[in-house]
Each structure stands twice: as structure tokens, then as C-alpha cells.
């Protein structure tokens, strides 16, 4: 079944057409990649999907439900979360606090004036250990290195128990050793927790290894899609990247 279905979405900023007639489908439980040169409209597409801005035309269905008119928190609560290209973390709070506040606090709003429950704290420890930040859990998140902040942001997203994660360049700015660990963990959450992943990535080695299906955007339109091997050998994709 298609978990996420984007149908001919248009989005323009004034006269600049960022997305034109973009469609894609993400089947449940799969890893799907989006590639494309800088400025091709990948992040705009993400922003459209998660409700960051209204779209000009088109439809976005999530689990069969039209979501293009919902707000960011509403969509997030349906189980779709995104991470950012530049890390977005709560810098003046410790890693543990970053994780705690990422738990579903509204689910039990009667306890809102109580401290976090034991289950939440256990989940925090478990996920921090999973991304390898357990030792640094009492440091301020703002003091972590960029790569560690990316890991933290990833772990924070997992706290919400999402069904689909939209990752915007998860490996950008992360050192090569950490990248391998990150890929393993992405695969692990996909296989073990069954979380669908939609990944924007510039690192070709990473995306070709990770994704089962790849979409290529160029100049705001969908240029090609297919299996990693097909995309790699597609002349249009190569031209788009090399600037022909």
C-alpha cells in the first residue's frame, strides 16, 4: 500500500517555480530516495509535504488522507516527522531533555504538570544508546558537534514513534566514520521498527546503497525515477548533474 502519495504538486515563490507537477509515491515500509542538483526543489517538496507552507495546486495523501491543508503539528501527530538539513535541536537543553520533550506529551495531557514518566525516561536512555550518545546525555545539545546533533535529531524523531520519517540530507556535514554508523541505523529502524524512510541525499554512495527506489528532481520537475542502478545510468540524470 502507498503510505505517502504526492500528486502533481505545484509550488511557486513569487515568480520562481520551485516545484512543478511533482508526483511521487512512497510504499509502506520502504526506503525511498530523492536526489537532484542544488536548488532543484527537494527541500521545498519536503516543506510542502509536512505542511510548512500551503501548496499552489495538487494533492498530498498520507495513508489515504488528504493532508495538504493541515498544519505542521497536526501532520506530525499523524505520524509523519521530518528532520532538517541544518540541525534543529534545542541548544540550551541537555540531550536527555531534548529527547524527553520529543515524547508525545499531549497524549497524556492530564499529567502535563508532572515530570516525565519512567517509560519515557527508559525510552530516552534506550534511543540515546542506539545512536551512541548515551555518554553525552547530560551535555547541552548546543555543545555537541554537528554530526552528533544530527544523530540526536534522528533519535528525537524516533521518540515520537513515527510511521514515516522524512530525512533532509542526513549525512551532510557528518564525518565518514559516523556516516557508516548512521546508514546502519537508518536501515535498522526501517527493518526493525518498520518505519518508512523518505531521504533527500547528495551523497550518491549513501543513497544508492540505502534506497530501493529513487526519484530525481531537476529545476523543480520530476526528471526520472527508478531503481538505483537505472537512475545511475540514466543519461538525463547525468546531464542534470553535470550541467548539460
Amino acid at each position: 500500500m502507498d503510505q505517502l502519495n504526492v500528486k502533481s504538486v505545484d509550488k511557486a515563490y513569487g515568480g520562481v517555480i520551485a516545484n512543478h507537477d511533482v508526483s511521487l509515491t512512497v510504499p509502506e515500509g520502504k526506503i525511498v530516495g530523492i536526489i537532484g542538483p542544488n536548488g532543484s526543489g527537494k527541500t521545498t517538496l519536503f516543506n510542502s509535504i509536512v505542511g510548512h507552507h500551503p501548496i499552489d495546486s495538487g494533492e498530498i495523501h498520507f495513508n489515504g488522507k488528504e493532508i495538504s491543508s493541515l498544519t505542521i503539528p497536526q501532520i506530525a501527530r499523524l505520524g509523519m516527522l521530518r528532520t532538517f538539513q541544518q540541525t534543529h535541536i534545542y541548544g540550551k537543553m541537555t540531550c536527555v531533555q531534548n529527547m524527553q520533550i520529543s515524547s508525545d506529551i499531549d497524549a497524556n495531557w492530564k499529567r502535563i504538570f508532572n515530570p516525565f514518566s519512567k517509560e519515557v525516561d527508559e525510552m530516552v536512555d534506550e534511543l540515546l544508546a542506539f545512536v551512541g550518545l548515551y555518554k553525552k546525555r547530560f551535555l547541552l545539545a548546543g555543545d555537541l558537534s554537528f554530526g552528533q546533533q544530527k544523530l540526536l535529531e534522528f533519535a528525537m524523531a524516533l521518540m515520537k514513534k513515527p510511521t514515516i520519517l522524512l530525512l533532509d540530507e542526513p549525512t551532510a556535514g557528518v564525518n565518514p566514520t559516523l556516516i557508516n554508523g548512521l546508514i546502519d541505523r537508518l536501515r535498522q529502524v526501517n527493518e526493525e521498527k518498520g518505519i518508512t524512510l523518505l531521504v533527500i541525499e547528495h551523497n550518491m554512495r549513501v543513497i544508492m546503497n540505502l534506497a530501493e527506489h529513487i526519484y530525481c528532481l531537476a529545476n523543480g520537475t520530476m526528471l526520472a525515477d527508478g531503481k538505483p542502478d537505472d537512475i545511475q545510468n540514466d543519461q538525463r540524470v547525468i546531464d542534470a548533474y553535470l550541467g548539460n
Binding site: 510548512h52 503539528p73 516527522l81 534543529h88 534545542y90 541548544g91 520533550i101 502535563i112 515530570p115
Partner: protein
């Protein structure tokens, strides 16, 4: 970090001293009362200003609303309606002890409820705005309220109104009653706010301060949390306002109830001086600023405002994050150095 238990022990020692001081220094009792008032003002301002990072210049609105609503209830609850030929500002109501305290309690609660309703209505309108836009929007609130209050005859318009006279037959003097009432209320406020800041709600406020976009994208309904935070602050601030109106005995819309240049600015300065975003910062800031203000006024009359300004400049330059923020930052720095050493 100092644990709650250690903190509580310090608090109890402080309270024991505070409870005895007015007996030893009866002449200073009103000044000491105001220190408790200032602590409440700074604590309530910090809920939005420090913990959530939303600077509000309009919190004085809730202070004045609490003061007026309470005064009206106290005036009208046990006495027949207004004589339309009487000048409202000259009406002095004499109540017996039980009437006085019942109307005070009912009035205070009514003031707090009206303030919360106002906070919810105003908050829904302007708390959707981010950061500076919200700050600018709140600038006019206190001033507008003063203008409106100056035009309502029922509350004495520009001439203000008088709160009921404290019943004379009691053993406990008016000054002592309000000293202990404010002391108790400041303690309740402190402990409740500390509990709030250590709860899920408090962490949500901090998340909004650190990165509101992220909080939103993680499914936190940020505007609702901001409104809730402001409402809690409004509730406690209005109660303080109701009490201050009775301590002074006279309410004036511009100089007392909605007095931006005094209470309105002090609450912000105190929270920032002590260290905004901490529970002890506003308390410390309130004690420092108000003590300094009274000392300067006593010994440097004429130059007192200059001295106070100088003190604020010195603290802003050397402790930009407030006295407590300065120490907190040093502690965190040493923590992170230690943990890096431990790793290497």
C-alpha cells in the same frame, strides 16, 4: 546542580528569618512587604519572558486588572449600590473584619479569573506572533488599559478609587497582615513555578524558547503552550495586584495600577538582572534591585535614579545573562570540559 532538598533547606532557613524580621524591624515592614511583591512580579514575568523567551512589556495589564476587579468587589460586595451623586474616588467603605476578609478573598479570586480570561483572549490574538513582533505588540497593552480605566466612572475614572479600610479592631496590624500574606503567596508561587518548570509543561516552554520551529515540527502546539504559560503568570500577577491595591489603599490608573515605568519595567529588569529562565534568578533580582532602590532612595535622594541606572548598566555589562545565568554558564562550561577530558 543543587538538589531540591538542599534548596528547600536553604529556603526554610530563609523563611524562618523572614518570619521574624518584621518583629525586629517594625519600621521596615512595608519595604519588606514590597520585596515579596517584587519577587512575585519577577517570577511571573519570567514564565513567558525567561522560560519561553517571549519578552512581554504588557504584563502590568494583569497586575492592574487584578487590582481594580478586586477593589470593585471589595467596595460593592457588602454595601448598597453607588450613590450616583457621590464622587467615586471619595467613597470609603467601612467593613467589619469578616466582611473585609471575605470580600478581599472573593475580590482577589475574581481579579485573578478576569486576568486569566484576558490572557487567553489576548494571547490567542497575539501569541501566534513570534519573538520581537509579540514584544512590540505588548508595548501598548498597559498604556491602553490605563487610558480605558481613566474613562470609566464606575471605577473612579482618572481620579482613581479607594480600597476599604482595614478593620481596626484586630490584633494583627494591616502592615503585618499583608506582610505575611505576601510572604506566604510568594512562597506558594515559588514552589508551584518550580514544579511547573520541572514538569513536561516547563520543558515544552523551554523547547519553544530554544527552537520554536522544531517544537512545532515535532507536533507541539506551541501557541497553546504559550497561552497557557501567560495565563498562569496572569493569575498570580493579578492576585499580587489585588494585594498591592490594598496595601497602598488607593488605586490610580496611571501611577499605580497600570504603571509601566515602575512595576511594569521593574518586573522585567529584576528577572533579567537575576538571570532569566532560572527559578532563583527572578528571586535574586527582585531582592537586589528593590534593596538597591530603597537604599539609594534613602541615602542618595536626588541621585537615586542615576545610581540605580548605573547599577543596572554594571550588571548588564558584567553579567549579561544575569547574576545567576553567569554562574550557571560557568558551571556548564566546566562540566563540558570535564566530560571531554573523561572521554580523551
Amino acid at each position: 546542580m543543587i538538589t531540591n532538598n538542599k534548596q528547600n533547606m536553604l529556603i526554610w532557613i530563609g523563611l524562618a528569618i523572614s518570619a521574624v524580621v518584621p518583629l525586629l524591624l517594625p519600621n521596615y515592614i512595608t519595604v519588606l512587604t514590597y520585596i515579596w511583591v517584587m519577587i512575585i512580579l519577577a517570577l511571573t514575568w519570567d514564565m513567558l519572558g525567561g522560560q519561553t523567551g517571549y519578552t512581554s512589556f504588557g504584563n502590568i495589564l494583569f497586575f492592574g486588572v487584578g487590582m481594580y476587579v478586586s477593589a470593585v468587589v471589595q467596595r460593592d460586595m457588602f454595601s448598597s449600590g453607588l450613590d450616583r451623586f457621590e464622587r467615586v474616588s471619595e467613597i470609603v467603605v467601612n467593613l467589619n473584619a469578616s466582611e473585609y476578609f471575605v470580600s478581599l478573598a472573593v475580590g482577589t479570586l475574581a481579579g485573578a479569573i478576569v486576568a486569566v480570561i484576558l490572557a487567553v483572549i489576548l494571547g490567542s490574538g497575539i501569541l501566534g506572533m513570534r519573538g520581537h513582533y509579540f514584544a512590540i505588540c505588548t508595548l501598548g497593552l498597559g498604556h491602553a488599559a490605563a487610558e480605558i480605566a481613566s474613562g470609566i466612572d464606575y471605577i473612579g475614572a482618572g481620579s482613581g478609587m479607594v480600597t476599604p479600610i482595614y478593620p481596626g479592631e484586630l490584633a494583627l496590624s494591616k502592615e503585618a497582615f499583608y506582610y505575611y500574606a505576601f510572604m506566604l503567596f510568594a512562597i506558594v508561587t515559588f514552589f508551584l513555578f518550580r514544579k511547573i518548570y520541572q514538569s513536561q509543561f516547563g520543558l515544552a516552554l523551554n523547547a519553544i524558547r530554544d527552537n520554536e520551529n522544531k517544537a512545532e515540527s515535532m507536533g507541539i502546539h506551541t501557541t497553546q503552550y504559550k497561552i497557557a504559560g501567560w495565563s498562569i503568570a496572569a493569575f498570580f500577577l493579578a492576585i499580587a495586584g489585588a494585594g498591592v491595591g490594598n496595601v497602598i489603599g488607593f488605586i490610580d490608573p496611571v501611577e499605580i495600577a497600570f504603571s509601566g515605568p515602575t512595576f511594569g519595567v521593574w518586573m522585567i529588569v529584576m528577572a533579567i538582572l537575576g538571570g532569566k529562565g532560572t527559578i532563583w534568578g527572578p528571586v535574586l533580582g527582585a531582592v537586589i534591585l528593590y534593596s538597591a532602590k530603597e537604599t539609594f532612595w534613602t541615602y542618595l535622594l536626588g541621585w537615586d535614579k542615576v545610581a540605580l541606572g548605573l547599577l543596572i548598566v554594571i550588571i548588564v555589562v558584567y553579567f549579561p545573562k544575569g547574576v545567576l545565568g553567569y554562574f550557571k554558564e560557568r558551571k556548564q562550561l566546566s562540566n563540558s570540559i570535564l566530560s571531554q577530558k573523561g572521554e580523551g
